[in-house]
Amino acid sequence: MTADSLTARIERVYRDEHGRVVASLARRFGDLDIAEDAAGEALLAALERWPADGIPANPGGWLTTTATRRAIDRIRRENQRDAKHQAAAMITDPTPHEPTGAVEDDRLRLIFVCCHPALAPEARVALTLRLLGGLTVAEIARAFLVPETTMAQRITRAKAKIKAARIPFRVPNADDVADRRTAVLAVLYLVFNEGYLASGGADPIRTDLTAEAIRLTRTVRELLPDDGEVAGLLALMLLIEARRRSRVAGGELVTLDEQDRGGWDRVLIAEGHALVRERLTAVADGGTPPGRYQLLAAINAVHTDARDARDTDWNQIVRLYDRLQLVEPTAIVALNRAVAVAEVDGPDVALAITDRLDLSGYHAWHATRADLLRRLGRGDEARREYDAAIAATENSAEIGYLTRRRDQLRPQQGA
């Protein structure tokens, strides 16, 4: 093995274990900075030691032990300076080691801290990726297209607020957990989308983002097994992730109707469908009506149920979008519904819907209109919409797809 690939392997192990290491130290020491710094020092130690000694059998345990030692060293040094700090640091979690079975996962506590409603939404995403996902500040900055200094400041400020305002390191109690889980799910879905939608398939880090989002969502589901929206979000992610390999071919985006369905991951689809069925049963038995994630999962279940794009039950999809519009009356939902309406009522009806949406800065609005105009034989208008869509996205796979579609338009007669 070359030195470079060993370093890459160590860094991957480190990223996989980062959330566990930081969460464990954060609970033990009640201080995110100490936990994060110690985790970083443990990585440096691993990069120094592992090339000679080999990667240990339990790398997570090694990293946690090493990080803990470093943290204790640091706290000793600081305690000599000021004993009060220790008192403050130790008060954060007054009920350690309660026997709560599956929920006893420090990473869950950390998720609820990172996604606390007292933090700005963009800070929640950044903190979750930094502390749980183990991504570097530079990687997060790149994923969200902001300068690294801006991202560093965002994370630093959020951590300062957690400390100064004493955001507790614990899973919220039963009264609060429903509201707080909504904030957590929003963050996880954003992370997933950043990995899935924004990437051109070129950046491997973003594949890590979808995997990370799924892993974290699975963890949340362990905590809240009866929560329909948690199950819905997990199902949604699995059913989207199942199509990932077929979604980009030759560096170009492949739309759902043109995807090689044989390339879909049947294992993920089976798991996603099982979750959707579980929710349908629960709702039929008088459970809470489905929220946005369950409805989106159901829509994706209909898509993944069709062996061939032509077998898609579009009527069912339109009905699900109708329900989704009730719980989430946004222009983006209306746009996605229009795509389904085009299959049921025709592209002219769908186009009329998009006319009423104020989404001119959104590439998918232009791309959808371009396709509808193309199907209506309105080539010149379609071309203009393709151009607008291309200008509004930086995603290379999407640009590739849109450019090909535009160039396939027949030259206009006369005009």
Partner: protein
Amino acid sequence: MAQYLLSVVGTSADYDDVDYTDPAIQQMFADTGKFNDQLQADGHWVFGGGLTNITDATMVDSTGGDVVVTDGPFAESKEFLAGFWIIEAADLDAALKLAAAGSKACQGKVEVRPLQGDPTAE
């Protein structure tokens, strides 16, 4: 335990032409009184009180050497501090719970800010 300042945000509408015989206003005072009693009973209370109208404020500035006294804040702000509590709470979640109850009682928005601890302890 940490201390938090719960600031009640008010506007001049809370002071101008208030009809104190209005049952809703009386209810608000009663609820706020009950909330104060509860804070004291549960050991959260440090201090608290309602403020008179912003037009009663006086600004004192000795930063330039001389003492300059002027009538009220310089900026005409639409929203201002109308009342406050200083509370003791275990953590932010506990403080937010109390703030929610306080906001409901006094029918005003409440801003929660931690008081600075001993800076040498940081």
